[in-house]
Subunit: 263 residues, 2 copies
Amino acid sequence: MGDVDAAGLTPAQARALFRTGTITPTSGYSRGYAQANLLSLPKEDAFDFLLFAQRNPKPCPLLGVLEPGQVTSPLLEGGDIRTDIPSYRLFRDGELVDEAPDATAWWRGDMVSFLIGCSFTFESALLDNGVPVAHITQGRNVPMYRTTIDTVPAGRFAGPLVVSMRPVPADRVADAVRITSRYPAVHGAPVHVGNPAAIGIHDLSTPDFGESVAVAEGEIPVFWACGVTPQAVVMSSRPALAISHSPGHMLVTDARDLEYQVP
Amino acid sequence: MGDVDAAGLTPAQARALFRTGTITPTSGYSRGYAQANLLSLPKEDAFDFLLFAQRNPKPCPLLGVLEPGQVTSPLLEGGDIRTDIPSYRLFRDGELVDEAPDATAWWRGDMVSFLIGCSFTFESALLDNGVPVAHITQGRNVPMYRTTIDTVPAGRFAGPLVVSMRPVPADRVADAVRITSRYPAVHGAPVHVGNPAAIGIHDLSTPDFGESVAVAEGEIPVFWACGVTPQAVVMSSRPALAISHSPGHMLVTDARDLEYQVP
């Protein structure tokens, strides 16, 4: 697929490509459209996770929820949530046990699917406003870290907040806060600015997920709540069954990034 | 209680007053603190309603949820959700069957309580910004109307959107939109401006809830999603048991209005 203009594909075209087996990170696909994290759980755990998301809107901003038995939604018009993501992860009792481009064989009839906002949306807004995004410039996945900040528990779900880090030139930190705070549905304003040790991060060069990026002289590390938090919470809380996307391999939705801008 | 300085009471003092039997509308109590609508449902209906709220954030912005068996929360520190509201309503199979200042006798051990944002918060912001609020000036309850706009269904819950109406001078309509859009947790921006017939309201002088207010020459009727919507949805969807506050008789919370301002 080397010649595909990924940015120019409609979301439906991108999903069709992934449905037929293309496995690729989705950064850069379908420019202008929002991408989403996935967590699917059996009905018996769905109330607790829905409440968890309500109490933790920064890491778990819900763009949509597919009710038990539903496998499509207006966010993926004509699509199928079990096949339209490039890669899925299977968790049993909180352990990652499999990874595959099709989740149909793992599915149960009563699965509830949570679609959670993704920082790709606010990264586009940062770039459009001339704020550099180092991991994109450096051609890497964003670095992500478990923190000592606890999420707010709900029912059986609890665990650490996971954050992503972007180094921002000191004279653009205020702009980065202002711009991202206009996107509360995709993690919103930073949770922390400038002091990684205060949230339990002692070495920026060894992220827990993703890849490290260089922080240049004069840049401040800025931390945003991250959509990988639900996977960390699944690992801590050990529900019998959970299905997620593979990090970086997101659902490309039919919603435009700009729909999530406020006010 | 005629000499009580209602505006100067702390939220805890206001709740103590209502717990011991004072029955009064709460408009004007504990200035600067957010008030909330209540809907309590048995656990069996809680997932569907939580999903309903997620899908309908304008009429049902959740400030907090008390899990099955919980009767207090950080939003009512040291309080009891069954007693701390001035007046409660009991619905059985969608019918309003009782109204009382204490809901304890109606309670079940598995009730889940939803605390939903209230427009009193943005009315304070409108007044602070010099935008007149007619029903306050006229000493009346805000007029509310069922519309022909459907809410987004979730599980067993569906029904009409209820809106509140405030007449705004034509030269302040843009300000009213801008100011209230900064409070998405308390209904946010208007859902409609200027044409009541388009949303099924044929006579502004006969509201379905609350009291009518005069619309002066040069004023435009502006419509916001309303926290009475959950009660209209209960009446349409007929769950076996539901407990709400009585309209205008709200929970006074420990959260400050300003906590809900974005960005």
